[in-house]
Amino acid sequence: MRIKIIRVIIILGLLCLAADLVYTQGIRGSFYYHQSVNNRIRVIPLDGIRGRILDRNGVVLADNRLSFNVAMIPQDIKENDQVFHYLSQVLNVKKSKLFQQYSQKKHAPFAPVVVAEDVDKKVAMILEENKFRFPGLYVQEHSRRYYPMGSIGAHLIGQVGKINRTKMEKLKDYGYTPLSIVGYSGIEEYYDHYLKGKEGGLQIEVNSRGQQVRLLSMRDAESGEDVHLTIDARIQQIAQEALGNRKGAIVILDFDSGEILGMVSSPTYDPNIFVDHRLQGQISFAYSSPDAPLLNRAIQGQYPPGSVFKITLTVAALANKRISRHTTFNCPGYYTLGKRQFRCAHVHNAQNLIEAIAHSCNVYFFNTGLLIGPDQMYKYARLLGLGEVTHVDLPAEERGFLPSRRLRRIRNPTGWYKGDTLNYSIGQGEVLATPLQVARMTATVGRSGKEVQPFLIKKIGEQDIVQFSTVRLVNLAPEIFTIVQEGLKGAVKDPHGTARLLDMPGFKIFGKTGTAQSVPGKDEHAWFAGYSLEGKKRVSFCVFLEYGGSSYNAVVLTRELFQRLRIEDIL
């Protein structure tokens, strides 16, 4: 009897085992199967080398260099204490700090832990020579981004960094992994897809100690493609130096094709601080400085264009046939609207259109503005490419702003006043434009209505990039542009022209100055935009100084710039 009880208990026990076996192997089997596969298969990533960025003449703007990381494999480390003692001596870092770093990053016995990044070549050699003394300690080789030009034209090139969560979300479908290095601004970001190498990997089978048993499969890493830009490194250098410490931007476009030959912004930063851990300390300064060094003022800075805007107003008035080149207004030095006086720079007396442009007479354009009204101004400014992004191949371009009566009605309960029209006429008030937009606008005028598409890309890998539909036609009568061009020429050639400083032998520069009021209490923004038709290359340009005072400063800067370019035999 009692034996039967024992039998029942034991049989029940065996049935429990059988039930658990059915559950573990039958029902949860695939789960454990995948775990066993994960157990034995490791993927060792191989970095693809990132493509370089080169200028139009093959000068390297972004390159890769060999860097050395010190890594440890936890399961192979025998005497922890000795290894850290040795490392702290060689690397000159506190032992406790090393150990802390190590224990924070350690996650599996077979996975290498990087304890020091980008160490000196000398240190790497010392470690490599003493490798046999400390099993598990080794030096990894990596390719690391490096920007030989430093801070010159940094905004345009951009920089790279480890992928962040936002980017990962966006890019995970395109072969990016959490370890990927991605571009964070400029060309590095815009052409990241081409620059990025394809990460390869080794799939290996390992045993319980993480030692390789055999190679299961392998995919070679592929290098990224080199990106050749239309930029000329020499122009970048000259332009950056010309700007110096002043805030501002310079954009130089090829007048005929729209290729961007130079684009610099100031203050600038050294992109190497983002890739070289020795310079990491400067990153926070770059982010927090009130001068916003990371901002590419050429495409992201939006400023009132001031008198430069008079070009679009002229086009608008001529197209509306409200004025002709002989229309004359008298400038007493101010314009009275109601009780307010709107001032002009000088007393210009009677002026025709050409003289008004050349002397940048506000009163003349107040009158013209009132003749055509804000709607027409808006229409033609849009037609000449203001208030809209230029679609240059750089990320985060800003579009500027053009006020209009319609928007005013939507956003603001106060209506549109004549005073607003007057401000609009001289590019003040709410009008905002980027230096690149202005440079393109002057090119369009200079080319009699054939707009160019500004772009930076010349070649990807071995593939020449052909720009399609690079020309948009602003369909206006050519005479209109001829008249404006005459005015722009006057600004330089006229003895009283605002930019007569640029009347240099051997140059044929057209342009318009602009002095835009900024916030009260600060200096005005200084503009000079135009195009040059004499020399090796025909270029269109915009020189802008943020809070740079009178437009005279911009003209002086332009003069320096062109003289240096001529000396260097570039233009």
Partner: protein, 368 residues
């Protein structure tokens, strides 16, 4: 009837041994960690064991009645000796070497304890009928004396330390006490008392044993330390799925993810390479042997034979249940071998010895 049981036991014992050899071949195949020598070792011992089996089944088992206390005393002395001068392995003193052959006295002690208790209980029974006793007297003679007999080897083994085997001793005691005819109320009362003592037990076990118990409750406390074995063995068994990964193709096994896979964790090798098919087959074989063993116990006419049959089948089943339960994560990891399958000479021979006794018992109709 009992003769049939003998044949059944023999056939299924062979089946279990065969499954075990196949698994052991795989566990030691092309491996640096586990030498392939152990497979041949086990083969040799299987053959030796078969002769032992034949010899035992034709012996008069009453001889063991006569020698029971002698064996018992001898094994206690061996256990003391091994504590004094035993061989260290895995932090425990369990082995003992005589003339170059090492063996584990604790395994032998299982057997001698069964004989000792069997004789004691069967002697008590005859005197029990002679004169009635006070309940205190019954408790003293039928519970505390055999308990003391058990505690001596049990504590010696526990000192080694070998928690698993010492618990098996206790299991032997409970099984044999149960069939000794002591009244249920005493047995239940005793078990309740033991249950209440358990929290005190926490203080006397070693830190690593505490770790194992904690890890049993949650293996992920320490996945690379104490929990590693149990996580890896579960993965191994589960990954075999229905049909297994095939002989010599278990990745958990062949790539050394399973520690102790030729001894305590051999079941996970079978689970991985043969799948549910193999594990259920093995469990069924064990079930049949156990069932037949208890049938034999039921039909043996004398009390000594019945008691030792129960004790041997009981210990056999306990080992199967605990070992497989441990591989599946149902019990804490205690070092208990899978009888007739795990590598280990002493344990293997002792298991075969028990089977031999069961065969012997199945042959006898009457004793006196």
């Amino acid at each position: 009837m009992r003769r049939d049981m003998g044949v059944v036991i023999l056939i299924f014992t062979f089946a279990v041994i065969a499954i075990g050899l196949v698994a052991l071949y795989s566990a030691s195949y092309h491996n640096v960690r586990v030498s392939h020598k152990i497979f041949y070792d086990q083969v040799i011992f299987s053959v030796v064991g078969l002769f032992l089996l034949l010899y035992l089944s034709n012996l008069d088992y009453r001889k063991f009645y006569d020698l029971a206390y002698f064996f018992y005393g001898g094994s206690v002395i061996l256990l003391i000796l091994v504590l004094v001068s035993g061989r260290h392995a895995l932090g425990a003193q369990r082995w003992f070497s005589i003339a170059g052959i090492s063996f584990q006295p604790s395994e032998v002690a299982k057997l001698t304890l069964i004989f000792g208790l069997g004789r004691y209980f069967s002697d008590r029974r005859s005197s029990l009928s002679a004169r009635p006793r006070s309940s205190l007297g019954v408790l003293w003679h039928d519970l505390f004396v055999p308990l003391l007999m058990t505690l001596v080897p049990m504590l010696l083994v526990f000192k080694q330390p070998d928690l698993g085997t010492s618990l098996l001793f206790f299991g032997i005691f409970i099984f044999m006490l149960f069939t000794s005819g002591l009244r249920y109320r005493y047995i239940l009362g005793f078990l309740l008392l033991c249950l209440m003592m358990m929290p005190f037990g926490w203080h006397i076990i070693k830190p690593y044993q505490k770790d194992r118990l904690l890890v049993f409750l949650n293996p992920n406390i320490d996945p690379l330390g104490a929990g590693y074995t149990i996580i890896q063995s579960k993965i191994a068994v589960g990954s075999g799925r229905l049909w297994g990964k095939g002989w010599l193709s278990g990745t958990q096994n062949q790539l050394n993810f399973l520690p102790e896979r030729h001894t305590d964790f051999i079941f996970s090798v079978i689970g991985e390479e043969w799948g549910l098919l193999g594990t259920l087959a093995l469990v069924t074989c064990y079930g049949v042997v156990i069932y037949a063993g208890l049938k034999v116990a039921e039909h043996v006419k004398d009390r000594f034979g019945m008691q030792i049959a129960v004790g041997m089948t009981g210990i056999f089943s306990l080992q199967v249940l605990i070992n497989i339960g441990m591989v599946l994560g149902m019990c804490p990891v205690v070092g208990i071998t899978l009888p007739l399958v795990s590598y280990g000479r002493t344990s293997f021979l002792v298991s075969l010895f028990m089977i031999g006794i069961l065969l012997n018992l199945s042959k006898r109709h009457t004793v006196f």
